[in-house]
Symmetry: C2
Subunit: 277 residues, 2 copies
Amino acid sequence: MNVLLVHAHPEPGSLNGALRDFSIERLRDAGHAVQLSDLYAMNWKAVLDADDSTDRQAGARFHPELDSRHAFEHGTQSRDIELEQDKLRWADAVILQFPMWWFSMPAILKGWVERVYAYGFGYGVGEHSDRRWGDRYGEGTLAGKRAMLVVTAGGWESHYGPRGINGPMDDLLFPIQHGILYYPGFDVLPPFVVYRTGRIDEAGFAAVRDALGRRLDDLGKTAPIPFRPQNAGDYRIPDMTLRPDLAVDRVGFSIHVAQAADSSGACGAGPSRPTSS
Amino acid sequence: MNVLLVHAHPEPGSLNGALRDFSIERLRDAGHAVQLSDLYAMNWKAVLDADDSTDRQAGARFHPELDSRHAFEHGTQSRDIELEQDKLRWADAVILQFPMWWFSMPAILKGWVERVYAYGFGYGVGEHSDRRWGDRYGEGTLAGKRAMLVVTAGGWESHYGPRGINGPMDDLLFPIQHGILYYPGFDVLPPFVVYRTGRIDEAGFAAVRDALGRRLDDLGKTAPIPFRPQNAGDYRIPDMTLRPDLAVDRVGFSIHVAQAADSSGACGAGPSRPTSS
């Protein structure tokens, strides 16, 4: 496979840097082709602005969506954006690797998403009408490709558990996994998360490395998270709400995962009942 | 009151720019002192890196947390970071105003959080031990101040409803409202969200402006979201999980909101029962 690793940590000698190097080596040893976008090392421009197109009219009003669409359609995007889009087209699998900062990805990686996901590439793809809301959530430019997060967190695993104070890790990652990866079409694999990174010793690092290695070995065959596709009947268009007979009585992000929602959840399965019961 | 407005949109002539100008005028007319951090206009440095301290040793390994702590304790932070911290200390209320891009804040604002929330200021405050996990989630440097999000979104309100395909807006904002605002101590007011921004005409804008105006008029008295404080008994330390007798049988971010979790929720209140029921 062709694998793109997008890496966002400022220090090459960090745990993240070590996991980056390990991942590249493991993937290449398995016969994969690997490209690396090391955002800090590339001095990636994090901020989306009018300079992202090369034919910008001085003094014209900047409209993030319309200007992105124009530049994408007319081949006037900044070269750095085009190069990243080419890497995404090339890739069969994409790994985003980053430390969780303030319960999301670092700004430099968020800015990579904002700039590389142009209108017509990352969004605004396919027919948009009252009958069809574009090719997204399971369809789109990046459909057929796989994506996986590799995330490090300073807190304990219990802090990110179902009842942990930070909120469940799966829910914290939902805006990324569903909103950034599934949206333009990726099949999203379960994330690889390392907790309590401040206390990892040599033995701990070896264990993390081994576990990550197994995930990389299985990159092509791990079952994706079964997010519900937008255009296969589960959602009503144009209000884009989940059909009333699905995930009955359930709330939260997990209703958009087919397995969890179609089987018994924390609220019990069974027939519909008043929410005030 | 002293109000700090942190604004993150690249185009002054946008809807966001208009709401920024309106907010400043409305607040000043009501007698408040207002400071504006217009991040794009300030050319705010979005990327956290080794240049964020002024006494950086060339070639030394960069550690985001430890270097931030050192700079904060020794007065060697970048001047732009210090200025924003001073504004936060000055403020009685802080408004973060931004367009929702990819289900979170723009990179430039995320980078403001990452850089301004230094170790010792935004986190790493108070005693950290197995008995007390710091002053955070309701305590901390910014305790006693109020914060509110003003967010614009292109999609319809139903797309962000309880069963909307994007996920519920309250859940999408949880990592920001709970993880970024409540964490260092803010009382977090319910957000002001504008949907379907691409279709707002003059009448629609007038309605939005009026509704926002009322929220600004009530900035000092609106009841905050009752997030559960960390150190008042609701959580077990050090695993930082919600006490088993609270929010029984409930899942998701909302268990960390006292009102919702302590009363009947979607799963019903009542005594504990097996989750497989």
